[in-house]
């Protein structure tokens, strides 16, 4: 099973975000070079699921130029997995996730 979120990026803009479903899931925002700026999730308290969660993240990350999402009910464990994968691949959390009060484990993915 592939564990990285490797779907194609979508250009980030208000219209593209408005077309997102209201479902629960995880997302990544990246800059123009594809560097991940923030990993986030649309949880059970998000007003319109991925649509509102990605929009809020877009406001927080003015450098972001692209995004991708994954619909999943297991958004909490998938979110942690994506954060751990980022640490395994890059040695650090994305800038938008640094300082979050979250205890992460270590992955050594193939």
């Amino acid at each position: 099973m592939a564990i990285r979120l490797d779907k194609p990026w979508t250009p980030l803009g208000a219209e593209a975000v408005q077309r997102l479903p209201g479902q629960l899931g995880v997302f990544q925002l990246a800059d123009g070079e594809g560097r991940i700026l923030e990993i986030g999730y649309a949880g059970g308290r998000s007003l319109f699921g991925l649509r509102s969660a990605v929009e809020e993240a877009r406001q927080r990350q003015p450098e972001a130029r692209r995004f991708r999402v994954e619909i999943t009910m297991q958004y909490q464990t998938r979110y942690r997995e994506l954060l751990m994968l980022h640490v395994a691949d890059h040695g650090t959390l994305p800038p938008g996730n640094r300082g979050e009060p979250i205890k992460l484990g270590r992955l050594s993915p193939l």
């Binding site: 099973m1 059970g44 999943t72 958004y75 942690r80 484990g105 993915p109």
Partner: protein, 393 residues
């Protein structure tokens, strides 16, 4: 629930302790939980620190730590009653009170030699280290003694481990773990050894998270590639590891059942409250016989689970054989708990399915309880073996 087997009345001390835990859950945990994501598994660090300190002041920290190691010395029946209370919130099935009562570490480490206790048990009790329990493999979980294919081969003063494990909770955040590996291919359950494995050693890999119905304590998949473990890290005797695993499995079934009961009690409380409030076709739901019967069936399920679990705890506390009793408690409480949550959802209608209420999380997580710590079918197997004797299996 003292020494007399037939005394089903709680002592004054037990009532007081239960009331204290209930107050902590209702006045501290529930308000904090209301602000968290519905699938959250942790409190904010400052809240965790504050409540842990409060639990220490109450004298309940490290409930399951034996008194000689600094635990509060509370008997198993009372701890079971406390576990039922501690589970009564959204995350309570797998993260009762978000861990503010502290842990006791892996039960098997209390059987370790002094050197191993110094390196692993005491740091765990001080909160400096965490461990994981690595038994189940891709080849099977219900019959671990025969399914274990992870091999450990002696090489000088070390053992070299190769293989994989699945559904292992907490391995990605642990500093060490107990890993069961085959050391004699021809001896079945008598060819398994338990090793204490340091997770920072070359060859130890957490390959992925296994996403399940559970929101808390996710499982991981492990791989060992020429992982060297010193002989000093063999727990117990070589080829006697399965006895260590088996003892743990029996003991775990009582608190496992208790958490199921806690969730069922809370779901029933919600169902009754809602049935008294909700109008349909000009009358309260509570006036409908269909609803009344669901509530009665819930109560029967809860009380059956409760008495079986307390009876098992009482037997274990007295030092009597309790394997059948624990298996029965686990089987009944996990299956009954699932039915109670299901009926409570039915009574709540559409709202019961939403993340606005904790029922949907309990429904998902309770389903795992019929499989975790040995599925219902294995519990029946254990009981049949004890009832019929060893010749009939």
């Amino acid at each position: 629930m003292g020494g007399n087997n037939m005394d089903l009345e709680l002592s004054d001390e037990q009532k007081l302790i239960v009331a204290q835990v209930r107050r902590l859950v209702r006045e501290e945990i529930l308000p904090l939980e209301a602000k968290l994501d519905p699938d959250a598994s942790e409190l904010l660090p400052e809240d965790f620190a504050r409540l842990s300190a409060k639990v220490k002041e109450m004298g309940f920290w490290g409930l399951d730590i034996p008194a000689e190691y600094g635990g509060p010395g509370i008997d198993l029946v009372t701890r079971t009653l406390m576990a039922i209370e501690m589970a009564q919130h959204r995350a309570g099935l797998y993260a009762p009170c978000y861990g503010v009562f502290g842990g006791a570490g892996l039960a098997q480490l209390y059987e370790a030699n002094e050197d191993q206790k110094q390196r692993y048990l005491y740091p765990t009790l001080r909160g400096e280290k965490r461990g994981f329990f690595g038994l189940t493999e891709p080849s099977g979980g219900s019959d671990p003694a025969r399914a274990i294919q992870t091999r450990a081969v002696r090489d000088g003063s070390d053992w070299v481990l190769n293989g994989s494990k699945v559904f292992i909770s907490g391995a990605d955040r642990a500093q060490y773990g107990l890993v069961f590996a085959r050391t004699d291919a021809g001896k079945g359950r008598d060819g398994v050894t338990c090793f204490i494995v340091d997770t920072d050693m070359p060859g130890f890999h957490v390959r992925r998270i296994i996403h399940t119905l559970r929101s808390t304590n996710y499982a991981t998949e492990l791989q060992f590639e020429d992982l060297r473990v010193p002989q000093a890290n063999v727990l117990g005797e070589v080829n006697r590891g399965f006895a260590i695993a088996n003892d743990r499995l029996s003991r775990q079934r009582i608190p496992y059942a208790a958490a199921c009961i806690g969730i069922a009690v809370k779901a029933q409380e919600m169902a009754i409250d809602y049935a008294k409030l909700r109008d349909t076709f000009g009358a309260k739901l509570a006036t409908r016989q269909a609803i009344q019967w669901m509530i009665v069936d819930n109560e029967i399920d809860i009380r059956t689970s409760l008495w079986l679990t307390l009876a098992a705890a009482q037997k274990a506390e007295r030092g009597e054989p309790f394997r059948t009793d624990a298996a029965m408690a686990k089987l009944v409480a996990s299956e009954a708990g699932g039915r109670v949550v299901d009926r409570a959802m039915q009574i709540h209608g559409g709202y019961g399915m939403t993340k606005d209420l904790p029922l949907e999380r309990w429904y998902r997580e309770m389903r795992i309880r019929r499989v975790g710590e040995g599925p219902s079918e294995v519990q029946r197997l254990i009981m049949a073996r004890d009832l019929l004797g060893g010749s009939f299996h």
